[in-house]
Symmetry: C2
């Protein structure tokens, strides 16, 4: 019911009267130019190759992200964009780069193991040998039980991961039925989810703070978690902590399911398993130049104080080269503005591309931008928020809107892999949806024809939507994003399809150009409600 | 036409009148016992785990194959089989075991590469650094062009491997339609294949003999081939040579497609790519105890001089643990005889299990057995065969049949992965097919109901069929054998499904028991024709 009432009120209170779909203009001459440039002279895969093959993974806070910032800034300038600049989002935290890492079994047989350190965990200080030991460490009783028994071991922390035959395809494109399901709203009528158990959460948090010092005290060489994924694909994110001063524990690896399970079975049979492990990491103090956003503009003309924004996130995890997450989105956004410059498009509003850092650590780059330029609250000094994780805090200071808040027509984001665009999530904005339906028309033949009132989360458009600025994410083909590439060692260039990238670039360019040149801003939903006072 | 005339003559000339299907007995009380033992007390996964998790890969000529021979011999004895013995199939060639191997990129960025040495290639004599260079070396002109330019490089030998989205499932079970297609014969009516080009083959062979000394002379650190496969799965077999005295060339690796392609793209952009590589191998003279077959028996009663055989191959490639190829077949054959002992089955004929070595190098173990005990030709001293690869030689000496030739009722093999049995290839033996149809009846509910006159190749039953002894291979679910496990680094325990292995064990046990106890031997096809005199 809340969604429906929002929808109705949005039609009534939006600051300008939303255009009806029938009135919305589509500049087909412009679309023709974009489609010609996008199909005949695309550079999107060249951009992708620089980001992935040459620069490689781009962890927030690492020199590689700085390098990616420098290169994208220069490339955007070279294409004729103006005001290309790199802006630090510091304070972020520690710098971390993986220099080398390997783990191998030396008894009962020799085997190079597929194992990759979690980011922000320390190195092993040379090649170390130790016995593999499985220990369940989930409670303080577990710690008491294992105290004094883990010296010099390599600690296996999980039970085996079930692997299964891949009887359905790893990769998928949406069928008409899938898109129909995405387009249609369904309201849940079942029982409410169990409420969040704050006490249990706090207990887990408190245990985590005891575990890392325990592992250090025990002189554990390294910990190993089992990865979901199989066939050589492993999912690896962060461990330790990127925040200065926080404990990182010992070296911490993620291992492929098949290798993990083999060692676990050997341990269950009481066989001695000896491993040799080494990781060399460059773990350092914060360098503000390594935690950045990048911006560049095509200045507007008669409405140049108003802005349309587009982007993706430049940072990535470290095990692959961050190709689908999210060099693909960055390359498409860059290609979109390159094409608009190349065809000589003169926008009424200023077009600003934003390439975010810190997305993987919680949309840090886009939130930094919003706080600094769009809308922010004074820091909470509510004692109830002390020692509570950030997502559980409730800042009841009022949201203060800055001048740019009313000037951003919309932000368009691309961050769901390397698949082509099949439509757009309208984020419960019926007026925007009607406009987008019109703009999608000249791309129906490329498979993009679905809009949905549904909201989608987990990436940088959310930072805009949260303060009432229209922020949108496109619907993309799922491909093998969630099975093979998202936060894995296989998130690499070869997983991105050229034709999909070309299609996405053309649609993004067209949406940006149409947003830049329509008479009114994209209509807005009502402002989000303020949090209730305590 | 040849197939049809063979079929008719087989019905006329077989040494005993084949039983019609309607007459063939199925001992359902026996099937009951087998199904009870096989479902309630299966040990097949325990056997598989010892072979794969504990012993690991079992390359022919390696100490691991010797260890596997010792363990299987003891295990079969412990289960009550008699005459358990290990028999050398030497001369085979050099012993080779991989101790450690790694390759990583150190410029333009750091990356641990998925790269595994081919078997029977030498180590790198320590950690070596070198530039990656791509060179096409396919002709003597290529060698002349690159002479003097490859000192200390790591040589990339292939163009990139195309990778594709996995839009169909990696793993598959046969549908009824698939099985119908397998069951029905189709004779090709199209144009004949291009005849074998002996001259071109000889030229390729001659070039190969020049290439390896060239690479050594150039002081190439290592060569790298691109693997088919993706997502972390790589296909690795042999390189160099296992034959004493033959050239091996430098260290030779296979690299994952995604990593190979990244480096290739960097080289195309004229970027310097520096790699660090190390392989340590134990490469030694032949030890006859490392190249073996294993046999064990359940002695027969009133027909104990006659034999029914079953088996799979004990050897494997080295990158995984040889689970689907072919610890699975070995474990099923072992489980079949274990069950027959456990239920107190008294065979009329002797049941002999055979676990072969050297299958991956050309059915060496089963051919050794056939030559030594069943049928052989005197060594050819035809000058036309000199310096010609073995498969092109034509030994026109007469096949001499030994006493066992007439005593082996049939050999049943299992070597197409870890999938359950869906039926059996009758190898163009209509009389056998009719019998098998009857024996499959009590296993229709387990999915095994297809027999086909089709022949299938590439494994050890071929050695029997080639000399006129009935040899059969079961039809198995394809699963992900050819996409993920066959000769890959992912050929490991977790890829084998327990339910499939239990089913296969029960069917193999029943076929063996029924072959052992029927009144007559399995009917034979006409003897294979002698090769024409030159």
């Amino acid at each position: 019911m809340r969604l429906i009432s929002l929808l109705v009120s949005s039609l009534l209170v939006a600051s300008s009267v939303p255009a009806l779909a029938a009135d919305e203009k589509v500049d087909l001459a412009l679309v023709n130019k974009i489609r010609d440039e996008g199909t005949s002279r695309s550079k999107v895969m060249e951009t992708l190759s620089v980001l992935t093959d040459e620069i490689g993974p781009r962890l927030t806070g690492s020199p590689a992200l700085r390098k990616a910032g420098e290169w994208t800034q220069k490339q955007l300038s070279d294409w004729g964009l103006q005001n290309a600049q790199v802006e630090s989002i510091a304070p972020f935290g520690r710098s971390w780069t993986l220099e080398k890492a390997s783990m191998r079994m030396v008894a009962p047989g020799n085997l190079e193991l597929v194992a990759i350190p979690k980011s922000w965990t320390p190195g092993t200080d040379g090649v170390k040998r130790g016995k593999a030991v499985y220990a369940k460490l989930e409670t303080e009783e577990d710690l008491a039980k294992w105290k004094g028994k883990l010296n010099g071991v390599i600690l296996f922390r999980d039970t085996p991961v079930a692997t299964a035959l891949h009887m359905t395809p790893d990769a998928k494109r949406y069928t008409d039925q899938d898109l129909n399901d995405i387009a249609n709203m369904e309201f849940e009528s079942g029982p409410a989810r169990a409420p969040f158990d704050a006490a249990a959460f706090a207990k887990r948090q408190a245990f985590g703070k005891k575990l890392l010092p325990f592992l250090i005290e025990e002189k554990v060489i390294a910990t190993v978690n089992a990865s979901r994924g199989d066939d050589g694909t492993i999912f690896v994110q962060g461990g330790g902590s990127y925040k200065a001063g926080e404990d990182t524990g010992p070296a911490a690896f993620v291992m492929s399911a098949e290798h993990y399970n083999r060692i676990y079975r050997l341990l269950e049979k009481k066989k001695d398993v000896t491993l040799e492990v080494e990781s060399v990491v460059n773990f350092g103090d914060e360098d503000p130049a390594n935690s950045i956003n990048v911006f560049a503009e095509i200045p507007g003309t008669d409405k140049k104080d108003e802005v349309v924004m587009l982007g993706g996130h430049l940072d990535s995890w470290h095990a692959g080269t961050g190709a689908t997450d999210n060099a693909a989105g960055v390359a498409v956004a860059m290609e979109a503005v390159r094409m608009l410059k190349a065809i000589g498009f003169k926008p009424r509003r200023t077009i600003r591309i934003a390439l975010w850092g810190g997305e993987e650590q919680g949309l840090l780059g886009s939130r930094h931008f919003i706080n600094k330029y769009v809308a922010s609250r004074a820091e909470s000094n509510d004692p109830a928020d002390k020692d509570v994780p950030s997502f559980m805090r409730r800042n009841t200071n009022p949201l203060v809107y800055k001048p740019l808040h009313g000037k951003i027509s919309a932000y368009f984001n691309l961050d769901n892999g390397g698949g082509k665009i099949r439509g757009i999530y309208a984020e419960n904005n019926a007026a925007a949806k009607a406009i987008f339906d019109t703009w999608l028309a000249p791309f129906h033949d490329l498979g993009a024809k679905t809009s949905t009132m549904k909201k989608t989360g987990s990436t940088d458009h959310v930072s805009f939507d949260a303060v009432g600025v229209p922020g949108f994410q496109f619907i993309q083909e799922p491909m093998d994003y969630f099975t093979r590439t998202h936060h894995t060692n296989i998130d690499v260039y070869d997983k991105v399809q050229k034709g999909d990238m070309m299609q996405a670039s053309m649609i993004m360019a067209s949406f940006i150009a149409h947003t830049a040149n329509r008479d009114e801003l994209i209509p807005r939903k009502p402002l989000p409600p303020e949090p209730a006072k305590r």
